[in-house]
């Protein structure tokens, strides 16, 4: 049984506030137009700390399992009502994208058994382009798996299996 924080709808997305008075903003942006040949909607998902109290810093937040439970609940609500594809790209401005990806993976593995929607798959891609690259986790309902291949085959110019 998950115990997520209450989720508040805002102008640009969703907010939750922890018992430590840390504010989190979660958002979805429609990036369907980025991908050629898609017949389903593609949304980017992200979240970040908006406010921490004076006795905390953004790099030393208290351990709080309910943050992960709340993110998992947001994803569960999303996939319960949508066939859209989600792409989670962790923020990398502080070069901690891989750490965030691992945390996201840990939450997913820990909390997925408690979710209502059990038909969600998760894949990991590294997208490279001239001068840069980023890590992305794709989440999608099993029934749209074929669409994922169309999305990716339309984008890529060369594709390798990771070792």
């Amino acid at each position: 049984m998950l115990t997520p924080y209450p989720i508040i709808t805002t102008d640009k997305g969703y907010r939750f506030i922890t018992t430590h008075q840390i504010y989190y903003e979660a958002y979805f942006t429609d990036i369907t137009q980025t991908f050629p040949l898609v017949s389903i909607r593609v949304l980017s998902f992200g979240f970040d700390c908006a406010h921490v109290p004076e006795d905390c810093t953004i790099t030393s937040l208290p351990v709080d399992n309910r943050v992960g439970e709340t993110i998992a609940t947001i994803l569960d609500q999303f996939f319960t009502h949508n066939r859209d594809v989600l792409i989670y790209v962790p923020m990398d401005t502080d070069q901690k994208a891989m750490q965030r990806s691992r945390l996201f993976d840990m939450w997913w593995q820990r909390f997925k058994p408690h979710l209502n929607c059990q038909v969600v798959e998760r894949d990991r891609y590294i997208f490279t382009y001239p001068g840069d690259e980023f890590v992305a986790t794709l989440l999608y309902r099993t029934e749209v798996k074929a669409e994922i291949q169309i999305i990716l085959s339309g984008l890529d110019s060369h594709q390798d299996e990771n070792k």
Partner: protein, 57 residues
């Protein structure tokens, strides 16, 4: 469940520009969130509210 892990190389100029826009939008969003100015963000970014309203508590 098995998780696919692949690298996608994007070289077509058209798609490179689109992907760069997604990445730069994301950086802007997180910058504004960290500054506590997310609600003030004005851009062409298309925010969505895909969660069912009755599920918001």
């Amino acid at each position: 469940m098995f998780m696919v892990k692949k690298t996608i190389h994007i070289t077509k100029a058209e798609f490179v520009e689109r992907v760069k826009k997604v990445v730069s939008d994301k950086k802007l969003i997180h910058q504004k969130i960290r500054e506590g100015k997310f609600s003030e963000l004005k851009s062409d970014i298309k925010f969505a509210h895909p969660l069912s309203d009755h599920n918001n508590r």
